[in-house]
């Protein structure tokens, strides 16, 4: 009897759902459209169920992407040769995209500290990117300070804003933290958008100076490429070393088990603050680079979608894995460019790709290296 009931439910449920949605559509599109929706849904829902059952049953191959990368760090400097050769071999357009992936690598490495190492979901990370970019833009255009003096100030301001957000957010966990950070991201964007007298509102700030090397402006694409490459190398270097130190281990311990981390003497509130501030530091640097490259900033560049994109980079590569995050950032900057031909569908393709990733490799491409040797 119970079995019969369950069976009926299983077969009837899709029909009922399909019927309900077609009924809802009826007043808007007429009988024919409703009937069409009914047919599509009553076929699609069981098909989805079958597919998900099938995926659960088959044994998914667990590919370890780390296997395909030489683990010996001595070979790492060799990578410099192709990287340095890019401006000689590639056309301007590719160099431009490469610069953007460099900036996103720094940004994503920053978010990786917060979400990948410490396990705190931050959905408004783009706020720090914006604060870094606007700080440089405002300091440069109003006070006339150049990149090398304005950038440290901007990065410091961003780091402080990371602290300030973290203080009230520390009491929150999981979904609540996600909502508060999301709100923070939107508030920051709205402030830049509406404070016309200071930020020029939606029109943005133009006429930002490029960085200078002594008196030579770094404004050609190849020159800027080398600047970004240098800063990416520095950030990866620092990130790797911080991860393998006391503070990096403490962050990962908090991610793994908050209660156990305080049982071994880690002040988790303090370390979460550090994590937010350290993450914001890199977002601030990325923001400065972005403003200096574009020579223009406007609130449009710092929407919620941008936070989502950076989050996807971190998740794609594998939370916590530095090489994974680099890989994720490069893929997600280059892929949409490669798919430019099919403009309309590229977000769809990206979305589908991420869904597939979640099904086949939910831990990301690179996760699962040990902490002290992980890079």
């Amino acid at each position: 009897m119970k079995k019969l009931l369950e069976k009926t439910r299983k077969y009837l449920m899709p029909l009922i759902i399909a019927l309900w949605f077609s009924f809802l559509l009826l007043p808007f599109k007429g009988i024919k459209a409703s009937a069409f929706l009914f047919i599509v849904l009553s076929l699609a829902i069981p098909a989805m169920q079958l597919l998900s059952n099938f995926i659960k049953k088959i044994h998914l191959p667990q590919i370890d992407f780390n296997r395909y990368i030489p683990q010996d760090k001595r070979y790492l400097p060799l990578l410099l040769i192709p990287l340095a050769a890019v401006p000689f071999l590639a056309e301007d357009y590719i160099i431009d995209v490469a610069i953007m992936s460099g900036i996103y690598i720094i940004l994503a490495l920053g978010l990786n500290v917060v979400i990948g190492f410490t396990g705190l979901l931050n959905l408004g990370f783009v706020a720090f990117y914006a604060i870094g970019a606007y700080s440089y833009a405002l300091i440069n255009t109003n006070l006339g300070l150049g990149f090398w003096s304005a950038m440290p100030i901007s990065v410091l301001l961003t780091t402080i804003s990371g602290f300030l957000l973290a203080i009230p957010a520390m009491r929150l966990k999981g979904d609540y933290l996600a909502i508060v950070t999301l709100g923070f991201g939107e508030i920051v964007r709205l402030i830049f958008n509406n404070w016309d007298s200071f930020t020029k509102g939606p029109n943005g700030i133009s006429g930002i100076d490029p960085p200078f090397l002594f008196i030579l402006p770094i404004d050609s694409l190849p020159d800027f490429y080398y600047l970004v490459l240098l800063l990416v190398i520095i950030s990866v270097f620092i990130m790797t070393r911080v991860k393998a130190s006391k503070i990096g281990r403490a962050w990962i311990a908090i991610r793994e088990d908050e209660i156990a981390s305080s049982a071994v003497g880690i002040n988790k509130t303090l370390h979460k603050l550090y994590s937010f501030a350290f993450g914001a530091f890199w977002a601030g640097l990325a923001g400065c680079l972005f403003a200096a490259k574009m020579r223009f900033v406007s609130p449009e560049s710092f929407t919620f979608m941008e936070s989502v994109l950076v989050l996807c980079m971190v998740i794609l590569g594998g939370l916590g894995s530095i090489r994974g995050v680099i890989f994720g950032a490069i893929i997600l900057v280059f892929l949409p460019e490669a798919l430019r031909e099919v403009q309309m569908y590229r977000m769809l393709a990206l979305g589908a790709g991420l869904v597939l990733l979640m099904i086949f490799r939910p831990q990301g491409l690179f996760r699962g290296e040990s902490v002290s040797t992980r890079s």
């Binding site: 911080v242 130190s245 281990r249 793994e256 049982a263 071994v264 040990s370």
Partner: protein, 254 residues
Amino acid sequence: MYLLEVKALSKYFGGVRAVEDVSFNTQSRTIFSIIGPNGAGKTTLFNCLTGFLKPTKGNIIFSDKDISGSSPDKISRMGISRTFQNIRLFKEMTVIENVMVAQHSKIRCGLLSAIIRSPSFKQEELTIKEKSFEYLELLGLENYKDNIAGSLPYGIQRKLEIARALATEASLVLLDEPTAGMNPQETEEMMTTIKNLRDLGKTVILIEHDMRVVMGISERIIVLDHGVKIAEGSPEEIKNNPMVIEAYLGKETH
């Protein structure tokens, strides 16, 4: 002179009196056991001692300092460490990393020396690694050094949690049912390990259900029932206490 003095400690959860007016003292370098039926308030008592719960009433004096209501990390740094009834490891870290994390507060080098890898940083990391390895050896875990903690068998995970607790260099170690889920041979090994801890100069407070373990290694025992301390004494005294037999041992042996 006692290492730990618990004075009239109570912990209520709304109407539930999980711990009610419990007092006891623990001498340095001894094994002190807390027994009692399920729900007697043993774990709650541990949570109060380690700062995870704020006592409703009463005081906890550790090394002459009142620690009642201090935060868990502060208490840990003062020298009390613990294991958990349901194991809490850093699952994605390797075995040795789990132990290294526990030496967090022993590390002096800051962010900058970590970034430039200063000689003192390298030296300190090396010392931490060597010490961690020694703690693994103490628990017989050296062969698992580079395994991912979450992938290990249950008994090994329990041992690793003890190694991690020791690595904080605490003088007082609280073990919450360390032999739960172990087979007789593993239990036997655990008894030896706990005795070793005492011989190393640690003070151990043990929550344990296995009477052979409790009676075999404890110097002193208290019995909790419904949050109340109903008896205290040496293993001999506890074995022959009619109230204990009624409240606890009786239920187990009939």
